[in-house]
């Protein structure tokens, strides 16, 4: 299955809807995990799996890159920390200094509780918005929802999709390959 000629087959037919990919259904998370590893081993690149719960090892099987979410959360937390310290220092030492028995205006130990809270607050927002943003959500429409039995992906079924943009994609050979994986209900998904 090689060469640009094959890739052309995946090119859209101008009149009908574009093909997004082929989706195959599996019965168990173990089958899906094995199918994912074998699909990657076969040389497919644009592969995704859909499951009703996170499956351990799937990120490795699909060769997913580690997410940069932790870094985003760190930056969020540091932003909160800086914001809180700056705000309190500015208010207490610059903009509205109150002399309480000659105590220092920039009384940083008393600023710690709010600094702590804002660090957590900003980091949490970074975690949630970062996750949603990196996942490209909200996305009300996605081609895989067109797969006939896809509603079961949120119940008890496990799906693997090979996308048409994969250079190795070929409607027929891809279907045959998915059959060798023990998949059933292989369906074409339209864009």
């Amino acid at each position: 299955m090689s060469g640009a000629a094959k890739a052309n087959e995946a090119m859209p037919n101008e009149r009908g809807p574009k093909l997004y990919g082929l989706i195959a259904e599996f019965d168990s998370p173990g089958d899906l995990l094995e199918a994912a590893s074998r699909t990657k081993a076969e040389g497919y690149r644009d592969v995704d799996t859909f499951s009703p719960f996170p499956i351990h090892g799937m990120d490795k099987a699909l060769g997913l890159r580690r997410t940069k979410l932790p870094l985003i959360v760190l930056v969020g937390g540091l932003t909160g920390l800086g914001t809180a310290l700056l705000m309190q220092w500015f208010s207490a030492a610059v903009h509205y200094p109150v002399n309480v028995g000659g105590r220092p205006f920039a009384s940083w130990p008393m600023f710690i509780p709010i600094t702590f809270e804002l660090t957590i607050l900003f980091a949490s927002f970074a975690a949630v918005l970062g996750m949603i943003g990196l996942n490209g959500l909200p996305m009300p429409y996605h081609p895989v929802f067109n797969a006939p039995r896809f509603a079961l992906a949120s119940r008890d079924r496990f799906f693997l999709c090979i996308e048409a943009r994969d250079p190795k994609f070929d409607r027929e050979s891809c279907r045959r390959f998915l059959e060798t994986l023990g998949a059933h209900d292989i369906a074409e998904v339209e864009e």
Binding site: S28, P29, G30, L33, A36, D48, T49, F50, S51, P52, F53, P54, I55, H56, G57, M58, D59, L64, T67, L69, P70, V73, M87, S91, A92, Y96, V98, S107, M110, F111, P113, I114, E117, L118, I120, L121, A123, S124, F125, A127, V128, G130, M131, L134, N135, L137, P138, M139, P140, Y141, H142, V144, F145, F150, A151, L152, A153, S154, R155, D156
Partner: protein, 469 residues
């Protein structure tokens, strides 16, 4: 999945009844939400709770009309029910975060079937808690003055004040709890979207699900985000009741100015919170037939946590009394003695009976595994922890340094109306929650089904905390 060996008896009840499949778990939990007919007991319970809520609104309306003079607060007891109820409600919330965050980090898989509604309980309890300081302001419509914003008065909140810390701690806690809860709900909302029969609910749940499709890459980021949120919520929950205790300890009133307060408040919060989780879980599992998900194992574990935190609370009382005497300070000594023998001694001894003596029954396995007794003990603890806050707030204030400024305090009709009203409001929100959202995390329950274990290795694997952190 890591299947931790049971801590105590290897034959103890499973955390998920055997025989469940991905489909059966999904169907059973989502059916409660998607059922067309609302059960009769739901209507009865909800309408009763809602009428109590309306009474709360009436009490608040009258308060706004007349001012806080309708409450029993006066000099020297300026805090009264408002602060007692605030601390009580906020403490109840803590168990939800403990279950969802700390037990997640500790790989306690049994948390899975109780975390969702415990988090809901947190949110609703914090909402009730938040009402009290606002109403107690006297001029609640000026509450926004507590928030730092550029204003024409060129004023800033006093950032060195524990009361301002409280504003930040509680509002951060409420926000982070909401985020955590919502993130946990996203995959389940997708399940409801896919299973709802009626168009309206498909759209409604679909909007909440944000187009979640269970993609592997999404799950990967999701798990990292969930874990990071748990890691952030853990110190947060400890900080919140610590800051609440600062409201007292930073003051110099005898009986408040104590270093034991932060840990003792946090333990008390968890103690009371677990009591409230049991108060809700035991009837819920019975009426919805969820004994297969919330098993006796869960009840027993929660009972054990209650026993452990109850002992910490008992230690707190002991140290409080001891330090009152050991300090050699005449005011501290008198406050302790006044609590034990003074005009409020009934409250004090009732709290000792509720919070120290009653939980000792939990040493017995028979009691831990009998739901109705456990429910009664939980109710006693709920009452006991309210008494504890009453004793701390009122007995310290009513007789402080100058005998000429001593006084007595009692809640008025409107105090009780507001307090009972918030209980009704809380229960009404819980009823709405169990009708419209899955009260048990469906996707996490699926991971407890044996087939979810794709490796089949006997040794516990790193589990949810997979290398990314």
């Amino acid at each position: 999945m890591s299947r931790l060996p049971p801590i105590d008896d290897p034959r103890s009840t499973e955390i998920l009844e055997p025989g469940h499949t991905f489909a059966s778990v999904t169907d059973k939990i989502s059916a409660i939400v998607l059922a067309k007919r609302t059960p009769r007991f739901w209507w009865v319970g909800f309408l009763f709770a809602f009428s109590v809520t309306l009474w709360l609104f009436a009490a608040i309306g009258y308060l706004l009309l007349k001012g806080i003079g309708i409450w029993g607060v006066d000099v020297p007891i300026g805090w009264g029910f408002a602060i007692v109820n605030f601390v009580w409600w906020i403490g109840i919330g803590h168990a939800g975060t403990l279950i969802s965050a700390i037990l997640l980090l500790l790989h306690q898989e049994w948390r899975t079937s109780i975390n969702r509604f415990a988090e809901a309980m947190t949110l609703f309890a914090v909402a009730q808690a938040g009402l009290f300081p606002l109403l107690h302001l006297g001029r609640p419509w000026l509450a926004y003055w507590l928030i730092p914003y550029p204003n024409t008065m060129a004023l800033w909140p006093q950032f060195r004040s524990p009361l301002v810390w409280d504003v930040f701690a509680v509002s951060t806690y409420a926000t982070v709890s909401l985020l955590f809860w919502y993130v946990g709900l996203i995959p389940d909302l997708a399940t409801l979207r896919d299973r709802a029969k009626r168009k309206f609910f498909q759209i409604l749940y679909g909007m909440g699900a944000l187009g979640w499709r269970g993609s592997a890459a999404h799950w990967h980021r999701y798990e990292v985000a969930y874990l990071l949120l748990a890691g952030l919520a853990t110190p947060l929950v400890v900080s919140v009741h610590t800051v609440v205790s600062f409201d007292f300890t930073i003051g110099i009133i005898p009986g408040w100015h104590a270093t034991i307060f932060p840990p003792y408040f946090v333990a008390g919060a968890i103690f009371d919170g677990f009591a409230m989780v049991l108060t809700l879980a035991i009837p819920l599992r019975a009426v919805y037939g969820l004994e297969g998900f919330i098993t006796l194992r869960h009840l027993q574990n929660m009972a054990k946590i209650m026993l452990a935190t109850g002992l910490i609370v008992a230690y707190g009382y002991m140290i409080e009394a001891f330090m009152g005497w050991y300090s050699g300070n005449v005011f501290e000594k008198y406050t302790v003695w006044n609590r034990i023998t003074g005009p409020y001694r009934h409250y004090y001894w009732a709290l000792i009976a509720c919070n120290i003596l009653t939980p000792q029954l939990l040493w017995f396995k028979r009691i831990r595994s009998t739901p109705w007794i456990l429910w009664c003990i939980a109710m006693v603890v709920n009452a006991g922890m309210w008494l504890e806050r009453f004793v701390i707030v009122v007995t310290s204030l009513h007789r402080d340094f100058l005998p000429s400024s001593w006084g007595m305090y009692a809640g008025t009709f409107w105090d009780w109306s507001t307090f009972i009203g918030t209980i009704g409001f809380f229960i009404a929100l819980i009823f709405l929650f169990i009708r419209f959202l899955p009260m048990i995390s469906i996707f996490e329950m699926r991971t407890l089904v044996p087939e979810a274990d794709v490796h089949g290795e006997p040794q516990p694997d790193p589990g949810r905390i997979e290398g990314e952190v």
